[in-house]
């Protein structure tokens, strides 16, 4: 025992005396303080959101702290690999092991003492995290609103339950690796693989099926806790400690056991021997080479004289030789193979994830494949660069061959450049691996449109340059920081910092080393507007990199002087006129390219940090909110001419807005909002008016009429606006692009103060000195109801447009085409609507292929990009089925055409304008729907149906600007689409879709930033009006029948069609639904629409006894609870007297599930038993198996049936 103690004490003291221990502590402490205070709102320009707590979860709540501590400790993997590895490997590194191993010490004491000493030190270092987080939370300049009570337990709890067991497991792993291999490199590789693998496998674990297994296989416990708290409400997150139960407990126990297992294994393998166990990655003693015998005589060998060269040509030869040497030592190495192998493994695992939506995949088109594979591999590449840059810089010194090299006449810049080239070539190999993996994964899915050119362009044209820039800075850091470990940490710190720089307010790409404005590839537009800026930014950063290279070669360690004083002296000596000249040139390039970029981003375009953007919004509210509600004219007609210039990315908008005074009083001034991206060439009213305010920054103008504008009067506003895009901004300007232009009526002038321009988020409002505001007016607010929620300056308008574009493109606006002609290389289209529309329209232009069809007398057209034919037929089909169902149930389709238009994937949504549906490239055109797979949701069909439904639900009836209005459009469209889907695919297939919707709703609840509301009052909350809406409406249909629901909807539509001010609200719809519901079921209206109601339904046990031949009596024990929740998620129980599905399932010969019984029963609260008679062997039984009721824990709705013996 005393041996153990003495080894242990020695180890702890050893670390206590090393500076690096305190450096590690300091780094984690500082990082924790910084991150905590940033999340707590200490920095005005920082907007660090974390973990989706929404605005109401306190940043120091147990749940939030758990996430923060867990994330910080993840980076501790590196420290554990270093520390515990060092404890195990130190003796081999220093060569002192023969001394230790010949002492009379037993294995347990030696290994145990070392291991425990390392663990204790590691625990000390990790203690910095909860301490730092706590310290950060206590700092005075945090936003007090974001903090809850400070409980020591919320800081310590994650440390004890999460960090320490994780440390034990990883500690055992790394201790063992280093001990058995007697080298540190497996720890590097292992640490990197573990960290990256963990981060990547997070994606895999998003698959719902594997939840329990996923919770177990996550060695760091994060997934288990995520699963445990998946549906926690805001209130729960703020108060509850994470309980160590269920999957979380098993996970902890499992991985602690694994840690013990690893240690035990290594204990067994290890022995106090000179040569370690032979392993592929261990130190190998090479077979000795026999020496020639000593020559008896001294022979004189004539050494020929060789000409020597020290010129440029020699340098090239030397560079070439050094590069080959460096490249070989990186690549011909079992570790490199291991890293690449691990990378390939993750590539293989992530390849199936290419392009999934609703569980259905897209065709593995090349840009998608590249994005997924390159994205998941990029971490590997970064790690590789970080580690191998160190290994390369230190190679000669590690081998002790440095003195041989340093005394040769090779120029000092040659080793640096050769290592840079070697590292870059290595990265090139990795990129080739990605390409290969991509090709294989595409072929494996039967897709052969490889687009090799795109592979090469993206990987070697774009990404390689990015990585080479990183190689330069990595090598620079290792050169300057003459310490391998510190270098590694600094590089990783730099990478992380660059990632988060934007959130610290340093958003301009001129600061972030190596960055550019990004690029998104679209089949429609290729790299479009992104390539030019990419080139300039890379030229800029490339010049900076050249300067870095010069600095590296000045400070390159040659010889033995590593100390600062001598390195400066030597650097001065190395400074030659040539180098000075080259540096001056490089600096000149930096200034030139940087200046050009600055000119583009800040002069030709606007650059604003997020904070400045917020301040602008704040000023809008401060200066102009006083004018809210002032009477304004109403737009009644729009006649617009739009000229689109795709190549120049410019657009001109000219036209006339006709407006009427629909108020009771005279209007003497008009406030006009313009888009600040447009230049105003002319803006004139049809009556004389003076411009009294022209706020150019906010594009807000106030005009005063010379004569008052009387009620019933009409006038016009003639405008001439141009949108000119010059150069490039710090982030890309889209909208008008060379192929796939998509701009909307947001560019047009609008009248009156618009509250949408205000700051929304409560925390942000507080930061700028505002009170929190209501998102939307109350559901019956008369002012709210006087406007629709689409636009507050118009009701239903007449619309016509003349759109022009280049000759080879088609331009689209809402309306029926009246005329089309070509003039001067441009093509003109005149459109006109025959019925009034909402003041919401768009203009698109692209080089499309067109597929046409008809349904009755409605023209259907899909405008798609050549090559994207995959789902066009499906969409057309969707349109037809939708038109059929909707017009049968809710009245005629009011237009004569339906047009679907593909636009580039810069945004991924579909949107419904009058008879015009722009549809993103990304969400349906390349979907790969497997008609035979019951879990594959045909989402092109579904999205099409949803958008067509909006032609009724939004373009025939539109809600007022009040709570709940989105029910009338979004929820109704969801329901409509569900019905069409059900007709097409059958009821069975709806199950997986509804499960998806239910999960999304429940998760959305826990991310609520303000307050949750009942469906009928929701304030444009997507997770409610889409997800909960789907579930609720489907359940309603199940209860009262499809015919009844549809009739109610039809009656409502008849009542409110084209209703102008006052606009309808959701309560009106509810009345119709209530009328359609029998009295006995009246409670469901209240549950589903008017409150937030949840169940906790549990099937406890199910037993069955065979009665007669093949007939069984099933006894199902249930435990049911019902809750009403308030807006923060606080729940109170209410009594159950409800009608719910009870089901019994069997199995057919193929093992497929069959429904033996499905019917509604009246149930009450608490425990109860239900008896059911079925024909056929019961396998499972339960309550609400189709998830029609909102249930927090739906996995316990159904249980397996235990079948007893022969019955009574």
């Amino acid at each position: 025992m005393s041996q153990f103690l003495s080894v242990f004490k020695f180890e702890v003291l050893y670390y206590a005396r090393r500076i690096s221990t305190y450096v590690y502590f300091g780094i984690f402490f500082g990082l924790s303080v910084l991150l905590m205070s940033a999340i707590g709102g200490a920095f005005d320009s920082v907007a660090v959101g974390f973990g989706g707590g929404g605005g109401n979860v306190a940043v120091n709540s147990p749940w939030a702290l758990f996430g923060l501590v867990a994330a910080l400790s993840l980076f501790g993997i590196i420290v554990t690999a270093a520390l515990l590895g060092h404890s195990a490997q130190r003796d081999f590194e220093t060569g002192s092991f023969p001394l230790f191993f010949t002492q009379p010490i037993n294995k347990a004491a030696f290994l145990g003492g070392r291991f425990l000493g390392g663990l204790v030190t590691n625990a000390f270092v990790f203690l910095a995290i909860p301490l730092g987080v706590w310290f950060g939370a206590l700092l005075p300049f945090l936003d007090a609103e974001r903090l809850g009570p400070h409980l020591a337990s919320s800081y310590l709890d994650p440390f004890i339950n999460l960090v320490l067991p994780n440390m034990f497991f990883t500690g055992a792993l790394f201790f063992g690796l280093a001990l058995i291999s007697r080298r540190m490199l497996p720890n590097y590789v292992g640490g990197a693989v573990l960290l990256i693998g963990y981060l990547i496998s997070g994606q895999l674990v998003a698959d719902m099926e594997n939840e329990f297994v996923a919770s177990l296989i996550d060695p760091f416990g994060g997934q288990a806790v995520t699963t445990l708290t998946k549906y926690w409400t805001v209130a729960e997150k703020n108060t509850l400690m994470i309980p160590v139960t269920g999957e979380y407990l098993y996970n902890r126990l499992l991985w602690i056991a694994v840690g013990f297992g690893i240690f035990a294994l290594c204990y067994k393998i290890f022995s106090f021997s000179h040569i370690g166990p032979s392993l592929p990655f261990g130190k190998k003693k090479q077979t000795p080479v026999p020496d020639a015998p000593v020559r008896r005589r001294v022979t004189r060998v004539e050494i020929p004289h060789a000409t020597r060269s020290f010129s440029g040509a020699a340098a090239v030869a030397q560079l070439s030789s050094m590069t080959q040497q460096a490249f070989r030592s990186v690549v011909r190495n079992v570790y490199f193979v291991a890293i690449v192998g691990a990378g390939l493994l993750f590539l293989g695992l992530s390849a199936p994830l290419v392009g999934e939506l609703y569980g259905t995949s897209t065709f593995p088109v090349t840009y998608e494949t590249l994005e997924v594979l390159e994205g998941s591999f990029s971490l590997f590449v970064l790690v590789l660069i970080a580690f191998y840059s160190g290994e390369l810089v230190w190679e000669e010194r590690d081998l002790k061959a440095d003195q041989l090299y340093d005394s040769t006449p090779m120029k000092t810049w040659i080793p640096f450049v050769s290592k840079l080239i070697a590292l870059s070539l290595t990265v090139g190999i990795l990129l080739t691996v990605i390409m290969f993996a991509g090709l294989v994964s595409q072929a494996a899915r039967g897709y052969f449109e490889f687009e090799i050119g795109l592979y090469i362009q993206t990987l070697f044209g774009l990404r390689w340059i990015d990585y080479i820039l990183l190689c330069v800075i990595a090598l620079l850091i290792h050169t300057l920081v003459n310490h391998k470990y510190m270098g590694h940490m600094l590089i990783i710190g730099l990478f992380v910092f660059t990632l988060f720089m934007g959130q610290l307010g340093m958003e301009h790409n001129l600061y972030r080393y190596g960055s550019d404005i990004g690029e998104t590839y679209s089949d429609m537009n290729s790299f479009g507007p992104f390539l030019g800026p990419f080139f300039w930014f890379k030229a800029y950063w490339g010049s900076v990199a050249v300067l870095f290279a010069f600095v590296s070669s000045l400070f390159w360690v040659r010889g033995l002087e590593g100390g600062g004083r001598f390195r400066f002296r030597i650097a001065k000596l190395r400074m030659s006129p040539k180098l000075l000249g080259a540096s001056a040139l490089a600096i000149g390039l930096v200034m030139a390219t940087g200046g050009f970029i600055f000119y583009n981003t800040n002069v030709l375009n606007e650059y604003r940090t997020s904070l400045q953007g917020e301040e602008l919004q704040a000023r809008y509210e401060r200066d102009y909110k006083q004018f809210e509600g002032m009477p304004m004219p109403r737009i009644v007609a729009v006649d617009v001419e739009v000229d689109i210039y795709p190549e120049e990315r410019d657009a001109d908008l000219r036209g006339v807005l006709t407006m009427t005074n629909k108020t009771d009083g005279a209007i003497d001034s008009v406030h006009v909002n313009l888009s600040s991206t447009l230049d105003v060439q002319a803006l004139d009213f049809g009556r004389s008016a003076q411009l009294v305010l022209n706020d150019e920054e906010l594009a807000y103008r106030i005009y005063e009429f010379d004569e008052p504008f009387l009620p019933g009067d009409t006038t016009t506003l003639t405008f001439d606006l141009t949108r000119q895009v010059d150069g490039f901004g710090n982030s890309a300007t889209l909208g008008v692009v060379s192929n796939g232009t998509f701009i909307n009526s947001g560019l047009m002038p609008s009248l009156g103060y618009n509250a949408n321009g205000e700051l929304g988020n409560d925390n942000v409002r507080r930061k700028h000195g505002f009170e929190p505001r209501d998102r939307v007016a109350a559901v019956d607010d008369s002012v709210g109801l006087s406007n629709n929620y689409i636009s507050s300056d118009a009701d239903w308008i007449d619309f016509k447009a003349l759109v022009s574009t280049v000759e080879d493109q088609i331009a689209i606006a809402p309306g029926y085409i009246q005329e089309e002609w070509v003039e001067d290389g441009r093509r003109y289209f005149r459109y006109e609507m025959d019925d009034p529309i909402l003041n919401f329209y768009s203009f698109l232009s692209a080089d499309w292929e067109v597929a046409t069809d008809t349904w009755n007398d409605v023209d259907i057209a899909v405008y798609y990009h050549e090559g994207h034919e995959y789902n066009v037929q499906r969409m057309i089909d969707g349109v037809k089925k939708s038109l059929a169902y909707f017009s049968a149930n809710w009245g005629e389709y009011q237009h004569q055409q339906v047009r679907i238009l593909e636009f580039p994937r810069y945004a991924s949504f579909a949107q419904s304008f009058p008879n015009t549906i722009p549809y993103s490239e990304a969400i349906g055109f390349i979907a790969d729907v497997d008609p035979d797979d019951p879990d594959d949701i045909d989402y092109p069909f579904y999205v099409t149906a949803h958008e067509v439904a909006h032609q009724w639900w939004a373009h025939q009836v539109i809600g007022g600007r009040v709570q709940g209005s989105t029910v009338l459009s979004e929820t109704m469209s969801q329901y409509s689409a569900l019905m069409v889907m059900e007709k097409e695919y059958g009821e069975e297939r709806m199950k997986s879709f509804l499960e998806y919707e239910m999960n999304s709703y429940l998760q959305g609840r826990s991310f609520e930033a303000k307050k949750e509301l009942p469906l009928i009052l929701n304030e444009n909350q997507g997770y409610i009006h889409y997800r909960k809406g789907s579930v609720i409406m489907y359940a309603l249909k199940d209860y009262i029948g499809e015919a009844a629901v549809n009739q109610a909807l039809s009656d409502f539509l008849d009542e409110t069609r084209y209703m102008g001010p006052p606009y309808p609200n959701s309560l009106m719809l509810l009345e119709h639904l209530r009328a359609a519901t029998p009295d006995s079921l009246a409670y469901i209206i209240e549950d589903m629409f008017e409150t937030i109601t949840l169940y906790e339904n549990r099937a406890v046990e199910a037993t069955a006894e065979e009665q007669a031949e093949g007939s069984y009596l099933v006894e199902l024990d249930l435990n049911l609870t019902k809750f009403r929740a308030d807006s923060l998620g606080n729940e109170s129980e209410i009594a159950i007297n409800d009608l719910v599905d009870i089901a019994v399932f069997g199995e057919d010969e193929d093992g497929e599930e069959t429904t033996l019984y499905l019917a509604k029963h009246w149930v009450t609260s608490g425990e109860q038993t239900i008896e059911i008679r079925v024909n056929g062997v019961p396998v499972q039984a339960g309550i609400d198996p189709r998830y029609k009721l909102v249930d927090r824990n739906k996995d316990d709705n159904v249980v397996d049936v235990t079948v007893g013996g022969e019955g009574s």
């Binding site: 080479v289 020496d291 050494i303 020290f310 061959a401």
Partner: protein
């Protein structure tokens, strides 16, 4: 070409004076730098090999200023460090070829000739296609000298080359070294006196950063002729003799103790005159300059006329 070292001094950050005002003139030929471990030999060697910086002083090889014209010196430098490693998985001939390029031998044919010749001279021809990881200590040393000899260096620095070699390897190595030095300055730094006595025509003795003696080994030995006496004594008599006489060394010979004493005249009949060797020179220098195991005394430079 001559190597001139003037007033070189270096003190390490922990206070250790590695070099203390070292001044030497080294002509062409073999020069031996003799001194105990920690005397500053390696520091001096590394400074001359452009790998370390002194605090003060200068060094010139011909007209090349070693401290400020490192690139020029390296063009004509051959350095065999005291400790060095090699790439274990690379073949000897390939690594030697690689270094030849680095030394500026860019012509492929010439390079091959030089490489083959050096491998032959160092008796490594048979092993040239084997991986360096399997080379014995002696083979690695010979490889190192082959690297150092690439490109006809005018300054060859060999730091403790025979430490750790078995007697056969040592003989072989010294044979090699003996061929050098006709046209270059060769500095052999060692604590093994026999190496210097066998090879060098000039030497210096260094201890604690200071040059204690410099000159011609033969003359230094000559100076001691007739002044060294030996006697076999018993173990417990050593202290008695040390008090009385200037005992410069004690060694064991076949189990009995033999002392060497420095005296102008025969101390007494029991002492026999003995032909002095370089070891005696070394010990007398170390002791005669006032060095003892404990206590520091003033340094007296012993400079034989040369």
């Amino acid at each position: 070409m001559e190597l001139r070292i003037e007033g070189l001094s270096k003190t390490y950050p922990n206070g250790v004076r590695a070099l203390d005002n070292v001044t030497l003139e080294v002509p062409q030929g073999m020069f031996g730098l003799l001194g105990p471990n920690g005397a500053g030999k390696s520091t001096l060697m590394r400074t001359l090999a452009t790998l370390q910086e002194p605090d003060t002083g200068s060094a010139h090889l011909g007209d090349i200023d070693i401290l400020t014209e490192k690139d020029r010196l390296r063009e004509t430098l051959g350095y065999l460090p005291q400790e060095f490693g090699l790439y274990p998985k690379v073949r000897a001939v390939d690594l030697l070829d690689h270094f030849a390029i680095l030394k500026g031998i860019t012509n492929k044919k010439e390079r091959k000739q030089v490489v083959d010749a050096l491998l032959e001279q160092t008796n490594l021809t048979d092993a040239r296609k084997r991986k360096l990881g399997g080379f014995s200590g002696g083979m690695r040393q010979r490889f190192g000298i082959a690297v150092a000899l690439l490109g006809d260096p005018k300054l060859i620095i060999v730091d403790e080359p025979t430490a750790g070699l078995d007697p056969e390897e040592r003989v072989r190595f010294l044979n090699l070294l003996s061929e050098l030095g006709e046209n270059s300055v060769v500095i052999l730094s060692t604590h093994i006196v026999d190496d210097v006595s066998e090879l060098c025509s000039r030497m210096a003795v260094i201890s604690r950063g200071q040059i204690l003696r410099k000159g011609d080994p033969a003359e230094a030995i000559n100076d001691l002729r007739g002044k060294i006496w030996k006697k076999s004594i018993a173990k417990d008599e050593i202290d008695a003799y040390s008090d009385r006489l200037n005992v410069i060394s004690t060694r064991l010979q076949a189990g009995s103790r033999v002392i060497h004493v420095q005296a102008d005249n025969q101390p007494d009949d029991s002492f026999a005159s003995v032909e002095p060797d370089l070891e005696d020179v070394y010990f007398t220098t170390m002791l005669g300059a006032g060095r003892s195991v404990d206590g520091e005394e003033a340094v007296q430079m012993v400079d034989s006329a040369s």
